[in-house]
């Protein structure tokens, strides 16, 4: 068997799976988003009609869509910077030559990443409990009035953001830690000889050296956070007053509760476009901020 032939034998099974169960559905989703596929079409495909861009127009005219979009942007806009800040802080501590028992601390800080969202969301729902939750207990201890975290539309999204930061920051912490370890020590030694403070070393050596890694984790985290679903599904069901209703939650309910599969496909593509645009914007901002 020639190498060429062998190569195709090796890759064809994987390509078939990806083609049939990913590429094909993506293409079909685009087609579906141009039809009125619903419960009737599900029963009999003859009921299917081509509607052009009507689904997109309907979605963009629906107040609930804008509400879900605003919530999602809130989650991404606040959650991503907070997550990365937590990751960077933890990575800096772990990278310090003064730190002891790094392996143990690293494991403890990383553990939430491997846990099941649904299961840990259950814990946090309880920690956020208005009467019996530990978080309010601590707040009251410090003289702050208890907060109805998951019942007050002003606090529901912050609660979900706090949960998401706890769950996810360990992932980027590991990547940033590797980035920190890649910075040549001589840079810091030279800076110390020049009498630069710790803060100046951070501003002028650490941050610029980490720039590409920070951009990478920023993009990955942002794309992930746009796909907010399980957290509100378990903790709040999108409530109170739909303050935690996300774009993906909207797609899920349109698709699998109301069986408006055409419209749900349109929502999926709008979400995809949003992620692409946000990534573009982030890349452009990073390029502009680059010292030339």
């Amino acid at each position: 068997m020639s190498t060429q032939r062998a190569a195709w034998v090796f890759i064809t099974p994987a390509l078939l799976v990806i083609g049939v169960f990913f590429a094909l559905p993506v293409a079909a989703a685009l087609a579906l988003s141009l039809t009125d596929f619903d419960l009737y079409a599900l029963a009999d495909i003859k009921n299917l009609r081509f509607v052009g861009l009507q689904n997109y127009a309907d979605v963009l005219a629906a107040p609930l869509f804008w509400k879900s979009l605003l919530n999602t942007v809130y989650f991404v806009g606040v959650g991503v910077p907070l997550s990365i800040a937590a990751s960077l802080g933890a990575a800096l501590l772990l990278n310090s030559p003064l730190a002891r028992m790094k392996g143990l601390f690293r494991t403890a800080l990383f553990a939430p990443v491997v846990t099941t969202v649904v299961a840990v969301a259950m814990i946090w729902r309880y920690l956020f409990h208005t009467r019996y939750g530990l978080i309010n207990f601590v707040l009251v201890h410090f003289g702050i009035a208890p907060i109805d975290w998951l019942g007050d539309p002003h606090y529901s999204m912050p609660a979900i953001i706090i949960f998401a930061v706890w769950k996810n920051f360990g992932y980027n912490m590991i990547i940033l830690l590797a980035g920190l370890q890649g910075i040549p020590q001589e840079l810091y030694e030279a800076a110390r000889i020049d009498g630069a403070s710790v803060w100046r070393q951070f501003r002028h050596i650490t941050l610029p050296s980490l720039r590409p890694v920070l951009l990478l984790v920023g993009i990955i985290t942002m794309a992930g956070y746009f796909q907010l679903f399980a957290e509100p599904y378990v903790m709040t069901r999108g409530d109170p007053l739909q303050s935690t209703y996300s774009v993906l939650y909207y797609m899920y309910e349109e698709g699998f509760m109301w069986w408006n599969l055409g419209r749900a496909s349109a929502i999926a593509f709008i979400l995809f476009a949003l992620i692409l645009i946000a990534t573009r914007v982030l890349l452009r901002l990073a390029r502009r901020a680059e010292p030339s």
Binding site: Q4, F22, T115
Partner: protein, 273 residues
């Protein structure tokens, strides 16, 4: 800053951060051993007054958690084994076997990583329905048999295999299949372990797709069943904590045992941009 105070600051910071991060998990464990209603008190109790297994008994005897865990285990194990075969073969071929259009094909695959999985979900559901795979293990396993990320990970690692080694085997008359099994797979052992735990953990923790394709209780995975359970037992915190414990502990233990491989894979995978 004086070195001593800096040391206290760094280590104190690490201790505080680790305590805050680990606390919810430890507390979950503690509450799961409390009597019904015990955790609903002010101040919230840290430890059970009398540790009891009652919640776990109820979870398995009445709520059927054993069945859901078995579903999760079956799906995650089968998917891990099968997808390894698909991704290892493809990843190796993309790294080491020359064929026309290889780089372009691989670049196309990487481009697919940009598309969120949810875009495919609705037609995928119809496809699964058509294939009679809704409410079967196959509904979760089949679409995930091969993945771009897995192929990418294997390719990254397989590129370190020296070509001379493969050439020498070819000169000795070994076929490509034999070379793959006898020479390549043993060299890929670290990435096999890495990819295996990545796949297992991702499958075990997955929520949205199993929620969609496994609507029949009988076939539900632990996270999906747990979410449904929590909607029925909103007030039953101790029971829910026991449910969280049995869902999390398997993956947490797996991670603790194999964390070196997991971290390595995470770093290898993040080079993709």
């Amino acid at each position: 800053m004086r070195p001593k105070s800096a040391r206290v600051l760094v280590n104190g910071g690490l201790i505080l951060a680790s305590a805050v991060v680990a606390f919810p998990l430890l507390w979950m464990l503690s509450v799961s051993f409390m009597a019904q209603g015990e955790a609903s008190a002010v101040p919230p109790p840290l430890l059970p007054a009398h540790a009891t297994f009652a919640n776990y008994r109820e979870l398995f005897a009445r709520a059927g958690m054993g069945r859901y865990l078995a579903n999760s285990l079956a799906i995650a194990s089968a998917l891990t084994l099968l997808s390894l075969a698909f991704n290892l073969a493809a990843g190796y071929a993309f790294a080491k076997l020359k064929f026309r259009g290889r780089e372009r094909l691989f670049a196309t695959l990487l481009g697919a990583l940009l598309i969120p999985a949810q875009v495919a979900m609705i037609p995928l559901f119809l496809l699964m329905k058509w294939l009679h795979l809704v409410n079967t293990y196959g509904g979760v396993i089949v679409p995930a048999l091969a993945g771009v990320f897995g192929i990418f990970l294997v390719r990254q690692y397989a590129q370190t295999i020296p070509d001379e080694l493969l050439e020498a085997a070819r000169i000795d008359g070994a076929g490509e299949g034999r070379i793959f099994v006898r020479i390549v797979l043993p060299l890929l052992k670290p990435i096999i372990v890495t990819l295996a735990i990545f796949t297992f953990l991702a499958s075990w923790n997955d929520f949205m797709w199993p929620l969609i394709v496994l609507s029949d209780q009988h076939w539900q995975t632990a996270p999906v069943a747990l979410a449904a359970l929590s909607r029925e037992h909103v007030q039953d915190n101790e029971l829910m904590m026991a449910g969280s414990v049995v869902t999390i502990v398997p993956v947490l233990v797996l991670f603790l045992v194999l964390q070196r491989y997991y971290i390595q894979g995470l770093l290898l995978g993040s080079v993709k941009a």
